[in-house]
Amino acid sequence: MKDPLRRTKVVLRHLPPSLGQADLLAQIDDRFRNRYNWFSFRPGKSSHKHQRYSRAYIDFKNPEDVFEFAEFFDGHVFVNEKGTQLKAIVEYSPSQRVPKPCSKRDGR
């Protein structure tokens, strides 16, 4: 197992399905701009049948920043138009892999 103190990739779960990448980044970048190497957003979906929360992955440059970020964002409450509250969860991402910066260009 990777030493917890060296883990840098976190997942933000239970974000509102309607939340977009720009809205989320606006909340994060004030404090954490330039402190992460990689960010990946997975939009959610709100239909009657299946609701899926939005999600995001962030790979911080320093393991210590994870603690500060979790303190800042874990349990962050989003309120939608109807007044329903949703609490965001911040956790270490179960897989700590991040994309290698220079994948080969596909010559196809």
Binding site: M1, K2, V11, R13, S40, R42, R55, Y57, S93, P94, S95, R97, V98, P99, K100, S103, K104, R105, D106, R108
Partner: protein
């Protein structure tokens, strides 16, 4: 009663093509061709949809799940971010499955366990992810108010999940630290099994097969007290040899 005819979903041609490749054409002999065709697609435009289709492993044949893992590995050479996304997505699916414990999702949850195991076999997740997932399955939602909804006492579905994952990749945990981790996990697993009382016969037989394959000489404990005693013994043993193991850990 009059009602409008059901409107069937109209998919854009590219999506139709991706579905044809993955759900119709893909088999052992065509995989090279499918991989090449996927690589030729306008990647940025198609990636989210391909990811979506990869998560539908339960729609195809169970025996073909390794082909999707193989495609993931093939695509990672050029699109590593895609392979990373596949892994993250599967792990998320497994987690959501535990959170909802929806009976209607069982088939796809089993397929996702198999998929995760195959991603390990294709070296796209490491063993620590497998073991963390295994342990998560045993404990998720326990000691909370929702335990009875998330893991009802008579429900043996989580045992089925563990069996599926270990059937897929457990045979690789046969040496070094991953061997020890599996031995240890199997003790916790036995404890979990005993907490369920009498199992349905099909599960019991699959368990016997699994143990016979992975650890033919393992003791099957007959009571929780026995497992607990064995676990205490294991802890003590590990404590005395911890110097040795901690130096080994860094070389994993």
């Amino acid at each position: 009663p009059e009602r409008p005819a059901r409107v069937s979903k109209v998919r854009p041609p590219l999506h139709q093509y991706i579905r044809k490749l993955l759900f119709t054409d893909l088999d052992k002999s065509s995989i090279e061709h499918v991989l090449r065709q996927l690589r030729k697609l306008p990647w940025n435009e198609c990636e989210p949809y391909i990811l979506k289709c990869f998560m539908k492993v339960h729609k195809g044949k169970y025996a073909q799940i390794h082909l999707i893992a193989s495609l993931t590995a093939g695509l990672s050479r050029y699109h590593d971010e895609f392979a990373v996304a596949v892994v993250d997505e599967v792990l998320e699916e497994i987690r959501v499955g535990l959170e909802l414990n929806d009976y209607g999702m069982q088939q796809r949850r089993i397929a996702h366990m198999r998929f995760l195991g195959e991603l390990y076999n294709y070296e796209h997740v490491d063993s620590s992810v497998i073991f963390e997932t295994l342990h998560l399955i045993l404990v998720f939602g326990h000691d909370t108010a929702e335990q009875d909804a998330l893991d009802p006492p008579e429900d043996s579905f989580r045992i089925r999940m563990v069996i599926t994952l270990l059937q897929t990749c457990g045979h690789y945990f046969d040496r070094g630290s991953s061997k020890r981790k599996l031995d240890r996990f199997l003790m916790h697993f036995q404890r979990y099994i005993l907490s369920k009382g009498v199992l349905p016969l099909d599960i019991e037989f699959d368990l016997q097969d699994l143990f016979a394959e992975l650890r033919p000489n393992v003791t099957r404990y007959s009571s929780i007290e026995e497992v607990d005693a064995a676990l205490v013994e294991l802890e003590e043993h590990e404590h005395t040899t911890s110097d040795k193991t901690s130096s080994e850990k860094h070389s994993d």
